[in-house]
Each structure stands twice: as structure tokens, then as C-alpha cells.
């Protein structure tokens, strides 16, 4: 590389400085300062963490968070996988229609969609009224302000995040393998179980991990569709800081969430690397 080109690239590297400075001051520094507060507020030590783990309520929140994230991941994989499979088999035109719907849903206001479920699932809501009039149930089901509501709402929101990457994985698989299986007389179920599923396991792992990570830290949907008795971690963090002004404890909970998120994300990246 000659001298002129080198100085040119240096000039181009400088272009990143405004963004770096901005994110450093308003993102990295505040997050770092918050994490520090978990061991300095109200005084130096690990008492915030021992409070977090020793108190029954907090332990229950942690359990709820991982439980909901796991159930949501499982549900969205179960619902999303067949759709992703169908997507790679459909003619391009139909693929595009379904993809457009998925993308649109993904980019439509999160708050608006959560609100829709709040209205749909309430005691006098459409779903309960239909079930009552059909005679499946005698009394309205408690579908919202509990973990059921959270799982329904979050599965709805996470679905595109499962289908899109799974479809990408399935599209890279060699169709000849499936053809060979079919020619040898394997039933669709057998083909799925012995060929498609094993081959798409890395994709399932990556998509599932992604959704699990996102679910762990979700705030809006659990806060609106969940009840007061079964909070999730993000809500606990927000409430501890905002209502109880207990910054130390809130920061400790935030640190737990951040570590879990980063660890799982690192795992996810390794999955993708092996895939490539």
C-alpha cells in the first residue's frame, strides 16, 4: 500500500469517531457505571447479590424469567419450524407474500401488538366470548395478567425471529438428500425425522438461542400482559430502580441479566461460526 492510500484509510477511520464518542458517553459509560453500582451502592460489597439470591421473591422472579423464556422458545420453534419448512418449498411468489407478512409483523409497533393481545385476552375479550358461546368453557378463562398471557404475547412477537433464520438455514440444505430419501420410499415423517431434522439442528439451536436471549430481557410485553404476582427480570429491574429507588439491587439484577445475555449471545455466535 502506498503512502497516499494509507493516509486515505486513516482519514476514513476517523469517520467513526463521532459515533464512537456518542455511544461511549451515552451508552458504554452509563451501562458501566450502572454495573459498578451493584457492588458500591449503598456500600462496597456483595450484599446486593446475596439479597437477590436469598430473598424468595427475587429467586422466584429469576425462575419465572427462565421458565417463560424457555416455554416461549419451545413454542415459537414448534410453530415456526413447519412454517419455515413450507416457506422453502413454496414457489417464489408465495414465499414473498409470507415473508412480507412476517417482516411486517416484526416491524409493526410492539406496543400496538401487545395492546391488541391485552384486549383480545381479557375476561370480556373476544377469545373468551367465542369460547363461551361455543360452549367449550363455562366461565371466562384467566388468559391475561398471568404467565399464560405473557407466553401467548411473547410467542407472537418472537415468531418472525425464529422463522426467518430457520428458513435461511433450511434453504442452504442440499435438496438431493431429501429426494434420495423420498426415492427410497421414506414416509414424510421418516424423512423429517431422519434427514431434515438432524441437518437443521444447528439452525434450530441458533434460532432458539436468539429467541431465548431476547425473551430473557423483555420488558414491555411481560409488564403489560403479566400479573403483579409473576414478574420477570426486566420488570423487576425497572421497578426496583423506579419505584423503590434501590439502585444497588436493581444494578445487581441488571448485571445478572447482562451476564446471562452476553454468555448466551457468545454461544449463539459460536453456533453461527460453526455453521458457516
Amino acid at each position: 500500500m502506498n503512502a497516499a492510500a494509507t493516509s486515505g484509510t486513516f482519514r476514513e477511520a476517523r469517520a467513526a469517531w463521532p459515533a464512537i464518542a456518542f455511544l461511549f458517553v451515552f451508552f458504554a459509560l452509563p451501562v458501566g457505571a450502572l454495573m459498578l453500582r451493584s457492588v458500591t451502592d449503598p456500600q462496597w460489597g456483595l450484599q446486593n447479590f446475596s439479597d437477590l439470591l436469598a430473598t424468595g421473591t427475587y429467586a422466584r422472579v429469576l425462575f419465572n424469567t427462565f421458565l417463560v423464556a424457555a416455554v416461549v422458545t419451545l413454542m415459537s420453534l414448534l410453530i415456526g419450524y413447519p412454517l419455515a419448512w413450507l416457506l422453502v418449498m413454496l414457489p417464489a411468489r408465495w414465499q414473498q407474500v409470507l415473508l412480507a407478512i412476517l417482516l411486517m409483523s416484526m416491524w409493526t409497533s410492539l406496543l400496538a401488538r401487545t395492546y391488541a393481545w391485552l384486549v383480545l385476552l381479557q375476561k370480556t375479550g373476544v377469545i373468551n366470548r367465542i369460547l363461551l358461546s361455543v360452549g367449550v368453557i363455562d366461565a371466562p378463562l384467566p388468559l391475561v395478567n398471568n404467565l399464560t398471557g405473557v407466553v401467548i404475547g411473547m410467542t407472537y412477537i418472537m415468531l418472525p425471529f425464529v422463522v426467518l433464520p430457520l428458513r435461511a438455514t433450511l434453504a442452504t440444505l442440499d435438496p438431493a438428500l431429501m429426494h434420495a430419501g423420498a426415492v427410497c420410499g421414506a414416509s414424510p415423517w421418516r424423512l423429517f425425522r431422519s434427514v431434515l431434522l438432524p441437518l437443521s439442528l444447528p439452525g434450530i439451536g441458533a434460532a432458539g438461542l436468539m429467541v431465548f436471549v431476547m425473551s430473557l430481557g423483555y420488558y414491555v410485553t411481560p409488564a403489560l400482559l403479566g400479573g403483579t404476582g409473576n414478574m420477570m427480570l426486566a420488570e423487576l429491574i425497572a421497578q426496583t430502580v423506579q419505584s423503590f429507588l434501590n439502585w444497588g439491587l436493581g444494578a445487581a439484577a441488571a448485571l445478572v441479566l447482562l451476564c446471562a445475555t452476553l454468555a448466551l449471545y457468545a454461544l449463539h455466535m459460536r453456533y453461527l461460526d460453526e455453521d458457516a
Partner: protein, 270 residues
């Protein structure tokens, strides 16, 4: 094609049925809310007894809602411009620059997407309380920009990677200055990436809830914050009208993006 559908026999109808159900699951709640926003029942009876524009009227005339809408719009526009500028410059450095630590820098730029937004929100909240940004317009801009910049960096980087810098050199040889090259060669070539960056930045700000809840003051609330606070007291259909507006904005912008993508694809084929 992984497997011709016909080979699947009757099983393919199971897949079709499943797809139809999932699409209904994704679409119906949004349609339902849009319908309810025109219904006359305060208790959101469905089907609505009568149709009305009353909730939209309230949205436009009630100062609390109207001001929130106006704030959201101004905010989203400013955030879009800043995000494309900051993110675009950073993308140039990432794609063109050959300096140590580029991978780390890339990770740093997408970090706000990975860190749970509630952590970003309370970290910024604590910081804002210290420096007096809380409840200010500048505070909202900073908060939304954190969320928006990663989208710009990603969209514009992807676009730049597909652009051959030799074209810039050609322009330079033909006597174009740096600015003219940028304006007449580079920017038109990466226009789809810039548009995507702008759309996603706008939507990221327009729809942002969590950071805004902490940044808001009783006097300064964005539309989602206003929705959030009234959701906690009652489910008034005005929220349905506001939701419909939010959905409409994303629909229009996504359609715009889709249109530009198809056009770009077509011009590439020719």
C-alpha cells in the same frame, strides 16, 4: 427446493393449514385493533355497535395526545437524520478503513442491540439524572439514537460492501473532488442502504417505549409513553386509534422500503 411439495402427499395440506393459521395469528390482532379504533363502544365491544371517528378526533384534539404525537414525530425525524449521519460515517470507517481493532469496533456498534433495552434505559436514566438530561428533548434524542445507530451502521455497511470503490477512483481521475465524488457517485450507489437505515432508524425511534418511559416527564411524553401510561389505567379506544397510527406508519415505511428494493433488484438485472 428441499422437497417437492407433491412428494409429501397429504402431509403438505397439514403444512398449508398450519401456515394459514400462523398468518392469521400474526395478522388478526393488528386488524382487530384497527377495526376497534373505529368502533363506538368505549368498552371495546366486538363487533362494534356503531362506527365512529370519535377516538381519532380525541387523539387529535386532546392536547395530551396531540402533543405526544407531535413530539414523537419531531423526535423520529431528528433521530433519523442523526442516525444516518453518525452511522453512515461509522460504516465508511468499518468497511473502508484498515485499522487494528475493527472487529472490536464492529461489536461495539451493535452492542446496543444485544444489551437488553431495559438496562440501556435505566443506565441512561441514572446518567440523565446526574447531568440534568431527564425530561428534556435532548435526552430523548440521545436515548433513541442509541437504539437507532446500530441499524444505520448495519444497513449502510452492507450497502457499502457491495459498492466497488474503483468507481470513486474513476470519478477522481475524471477530475471530481472528494465532495463531488461523494455526492454524485457514492451516495447514489448506496441509496438503498441509506433508505433502509433511515426507515429502520425512524421506526426504532417512533416505536421506542422503554428508554422513553424513563426519560419522560409529565410534560414531555412521546406517543408510546402516553399509550403506556393510559394503558395502565384503562383500555380506552383512543389507544387503539394511536396503535393504528403507529401500525400505519410502519406499514407505509416498510412498503416504501420494499418498493425501493424491488426497483433496485430490477435495475441490477437490466
Amino acid at each position: 427446493m428441499i422437497l417437492t411439495r407433491n412428494r409429501l402427499g397429504l402431509f403438505r395440506f397439514v403444512l398449508y393449514g398450519h401456515a394459514v393459521l400462523v398468518m392469521a395469528f400474526l395478522l388478526l390482532p393488528i386488524i382487530f385493533i384497527a377495526l376497534l379504533s373505529f368502533g363506538s363502544s368505549r368498552w371495546m365491544m366486538f363487533p362494534p355497535p356503531e362506527w365512529t371517528l370519535r377516538w381519532y378526533e380525541e387523539l387529535a384534539t386532546d392536547p395530551r395526545w396531540a402533543e405526544a404525537m407531535w413530539l414523537s414525530l419531531r423526535l423520529a425525524l431528528i433521530v433519523t437524520v442523526l442516525s444516518v449521519l453518525l452511522g453512515g460515517a461509522a460504516a465508511f470507517a468499518l468497511v473502508r478503513g484498515r485499522f487494528a481493532g475493527r472487529r472490536v469496533l464492529k461489536a461495539f456498534f451493535v452492542a446496543p442491540m444485544i444489551v437488553p433495552v431495559v438496562i440501556v434505559a435505566i443506565a441512561l436514566y441514572a446518567f440523565s439524572l446526574k447531568v440534568g438530561l431527564n425530561g428534556t428533548f435532548a435526552g430523548f434524542v440521545a436515548g433513541h439514537l442509541i437504539i437507532a445507530v446500530p441499524f444505520s451502521v448495519i444497513c449502510i455497511s452492507n450497502s457499502l460492501r457491495g459498492f466497488d470503490p474503483a468507481l470513486e477512483q474513476a470519478a477522481a481521475i475524471c477530475g471530481a473532488g472528494r465532495l463531488e465524488t461523494l455526492r454524485r457517485v457514492t451516495i447514489p450507489s448506496i441509496a438503498p442502504g441509506l433508505l433502509a437505515a433511515a426507515v429502520f432508524s425512524f421506526l426504532a425511534s417512533w416505536d421506542e417505549v422503554v428508554v422513553s418511559i424513563f426519560m419522560a416527564s409529565p410534560q414531555l411524553q412521546t406517543l408510546p409513553v402516553r399509550m403506556w401510561t393510559s394503558l395502565r389505567s384503562d383500555l380506552t379506544p383512543v389507544i387503539a386509534a394511536a396503535s393504528t397510527l403507529l401500525v400505519l406508519a410502519s406499514l407505509i415505511l416498510m412498503a416504501l422500503l420494499g418498493l425501493s428494493a424491488t426497483r433496485a433488484g430490477r435495475s441490477k438485472m437490466q
